[in-house]
């Protein structure tokens, strides 16, 4: 053994050290954040620095990423970092929403404080699809009445006492249906509920869970959507309510074939009449949190939970719409207004309320007796007047929206 071997071996080791050093120097420098709610360092921003903040009410300095999304907060390897994320790319999927968005300080809190979003959504008609399932099963003779027995997933009503008396739904299962049509229904038609992402690559494509509504895709409908908002444009509602329809003979979903040019054309009901405000405003300008997310009870039908009518804002010939004057700075109306700061709502302002007492926080009574409404998504200002004192000649007993449409629908 001569020194030559020693030299060669040393050269090889030096080369190995050099290569290792070069590789080490190419490694990314971690970007740390310590969210105040967890006080635990996380390195997600090393790669996700250019992600826009999800919403002003979830600032990244407070929440960080891992509290909601899960994942390995210290890992700088993409596969490892993402391996334990909840719900894949959508942590608001209803199967994981309690861990992601829940907790008594967040969205599964007290109903008195309006913080029980998750409990309500779980049992809501939008999530269970119970009414449609019951109707179709009844139509094909699989059940003797329209009482809902099945939901898109099994669900229990945990917010007792129940006003509807429906305490439990079994999960609808294709395998336990005998009728071939019901099996096809299960295969093709269960796409319009919060546990489904909708028909693939269509107008109906969207996220599941909270993000089905609160993470609007916007114009592009592509790429990463990192948004949570309460200002949902009607286009997001249209991902389900989009004028496509189910064909009961073939049990298939038929997408609308025409191309909507105007807002009125793209309105979701294939038949029906619409007044100007129905196609000028966004759905969420009138329809309330309870209507969209449920009231905690399991309902049999959309009609059982939808209650806002024309008269909610316009009143009737004999009555002005219900209003309340805000006296408590802690009123939920202020919290809702803060989430989508459209108008400078003040203590002392009088706003419209629904017959169930839900504040229509984007409205205000004006000194001249008219009302203002600011579109939640469009930020457009609308001034409108009550029916009382107008030239309306409607029968006082016929005050549901259908009767208003008789005169005020755009077709007339």
């Amino acid at each position: 053994m001569t020194n030559r071997f020693l030299l060669i071996a040393s050269a090889i080791l030096l080369t190995a050290i050099g290569l290792t050093w070069w590789l080490q120097s190419r490694q990314v420098q971690p970007v740390a954040i310590t969210p105040s709610l967890t006080d635990q360092i996380e390195y997600c921003l090393t790669c996700h620095a250019d992600l826009t903040e999800i919403s002003p009410s979830h600032p990244v300095e407070t929440y960080g990423c891992v509290l909601c999304h899960g994942g390995e907060r210290l890992a700088l390897d993409a596969n490892l970092a993402h391996s334990s994320m909840r719900g894949g790319n959508n942590q608001s999927d209803l199967s994981v929403v309690e861990q992601s968005c829940g907790g008594s300080n967040c969205h599964s809190g007290e109903s008195a404080e309006g913080q029980d979003h998750i409990q309500r959504v779980m049992t809501s008609i939008q999530s269970t699809y119970a009414g449609a399932i019951a109707n179709v099963r009844y139509t094909y003779g699989a059940q003797t009445d329209l009482t809902p027995l099945f939901g898109s997933v099994a669900v229990n009503d945990t917010s007792l006492p129940s006003q509807t008396g429906i305490l439990h739904l079994e999960a609808f299962a294709i395998s336990s249906e005998n009728n071939q049509f019901l099996q096809t229904f299960g295969e093709n038609c269960l796409t319009c509920h919060l546990n489904s992402t909708g028909v693939e690559d269509s107008l109906s494509t969207r996220f599941t869970g909270c993000s089905a509504c609160h993470s609007p895709a916007g114009e592009s409908r592509a790429g990463e959507i990192h948004t949570l908002t309460t200002a949902m444009p009607y286009t997001q509602c249209n991902t389900c309510h989009n004028r496509g329809n189910y064909d009961l003979r073939t049990m298939t979903f038929v997408e609308r074939s025409d191309e909507a040019v105007t807002r009125l054309e793209s309105y979701y009901q294939p038949i029906g009449q619409f007044t100007q405000c129905e196609y000028s405003l966004d759905c969420v300008d009138c329809h309330t949190r309870t209507e969209a997310m449920g009231d905690g009870d399991i309902h049999a039908n959309q009609k059982d939970i939808e209650y806002v009518q024309c008269k909610t804002c316009h009143g009737t010939l004999t009555e002005l719409p219900l209003t309340m004057t805000l006296t408590d700075p802690e009123d939920i109306a202020f919290r809702l207004a803060q989430l989508n700061p459209l108008m400078d709502l003040q203590v002392g302002d009088t706003i419209l309320v629904t017959e169930q007492g839900e504040p229509l926080w984007n409205t205000r009574l004006l000194p001249d007796g008219n009302y203002e409404l600011i579109g939640k998504a469009t930020k457009q200002l609308f001034i409108f007047r009550p029916v009382m004192g107008s030239a309306c000649t409607q029968d006082g007993l016929e005050q549901s929206s259908a009767y208003c449409h008789e005169c005020h629908a755009v077709e007339h």
């Binding site: 053994m1 020194n3 071997f5 020693l6 071996a9 040393s10 090889i12 080791l13 080369t15 190995a16 050290i17 290569l19 290792t20 590789l23 080490q24 490694q27 971690p30 390195y43 390995e72 907060r73 210290l74 890992a75 700088l76 390897d77 490892l80 391996s83 334990s84």
Partner: protein, 344 residues
């Protein structure tokens, strides 16, 4: 010039035959080098590793991604451990295939086999210290195998796991075994093993009168050979560690859940395959113990190699021992390959 410390711990001169690569394969010496690497890299890891169920996996991630050169040190520790197993196996095979275990070296053969078992146990305990979902299956199945041993199984399980199922007591016990208990035993046995090599007359070669090659080399030359070996194996280790990171997975959240695919560490995959055949005690405990016993009995039950055959590859005089080892190695390799074959 008086010998320096490293030269001093070697014999003044040794027969050149004992240092030939083609004879020793350098396996024993490389094993010692790898153990030194493991001791140093392991000691460095101990500054950051936290042996608690909540923080173990996170601290491994901290080491891997955030501590300067932590990932490299962890990879070095991982690869040195894997290579140590391979090198130890090669060393064992070399000793059997050259009949070097015979006569006065029978005891040192047993010491070496005990060291081999300790290396396996150190590898397994170190593997468990990750405490992530990657080790969950092996931890639960491995400890449950202990339970199947008649009479003493349950007590042994409690002593090993420290409770009814793996938890924080288990992690601390595995940690203590890894960094203290097994390490101490391995250190003692290693020193004893090396001492016995020298006491038994150095690496096995024929007695002086039966030797063809009578060249001797000085300890200076010997140290130089060892340094070359260290530089080369060090380079290989460094490159492996730089380009192939050690496995890592998300931390365990629910220890009792035995989810996911079966995944033993690679050196136990043959046992994983046998466990599919039925009785876990027979296939998971007894059969590996029988294999170990056969290995231990090689110097005692098979015909002894002739003294002039020492230091020769495949001497005809211990053919039976060679065949026994080949059969064992082939069966273990075949079982591993069967288990690893891609699922159709």
């Amino acid at each position: 010039m008086r010998p320096n410390f490293f030269q001093h711990i070697h014999p003044p001169t040794i027969p050149a035959e004992q240092t030939r690569w083609r004879y020793t394969l350098g396996a024993g010496g490389t094993a010692i080098f790898l153990i030194l690497v493991l001791a140093v890299s392991g000691a460095l890891e101990m500054f950051y590793y936290i042996p608690s169920t909540g923080e173990a996996a996170l601290s491994v991630q901290t080491i891997s991604f955030l501590v300067p050169f932590g990932g490299l040190v962890r990879n070095l520790h991982f690869w040195a451990a894997q290579l140590l197993l391979i090198v130890s196996a090669v060393h064992l095979i070399r000793v059997v295939f050259t009949g070097s275990y015979a006569l006065q070296r029978r005891f040192n053969y047993l010491l070496g086999l005990a060291l081999f078992i300790l290396v396996i146990l150190l590898d397994f305990t170190g593997y468990v210290l990750r405490w992530d979902t990657g080790i969950q299956w092996a931890l639960i199945v491995g400890t449950n195998l202990v339970k199947t041993i008649p009479w003493i199984g349950n007590s042994l399980y409690k002593a090993l796991v420290g409770g009814a199922y793996p938890g924080s007591a288990t992690l601390v016990r595995f940690y203590s075994w890894h960094v203290f208990g097994l390490m101490l035993l391995a250190a003692i046995l290693m020193i004893w093993h090396v001492f016995r090599v020298r006491r038994d007359g150095g690496i096995a070669v024929p007695p002086p009168k039966q030797r063809d090659d009578i060249v001797r080399i000085s300890r200076k030359e010997l140290v130089r050979v060892e340094v070359v070996a260290m530089l080369l194996s060090g380079s290989a280790l460094l490159l492996l560690s730089a380009y192939f990171p050690a496995p890592i997975a998300p931390g365990i959240t629910e220890i009792t859940a035995l989810s996911g695919a079966a995944s033993a560490p690679w050196f136990f995959i043959w046992v994983q395959q046998m466990l599919k055949w039925g009785d876990p005690f027979f296939w998971g405990v007894l059969v590996p113990l029988i294999v170990l016993t056969i290995l231990g009995l090689i110097p005692f039950i098979f015909p002894k190699p002739a003294s002039q055959d020492l230091g020769r590859w495949f001497p005809p005089s211990n053919r039976l021992a060679q065949i026994a080892l080949v059969v064992i190695a082939l069966v273990i390799t075949a079982l591993t390959l069967v288990e690893l074959r891609p699922v159709q």
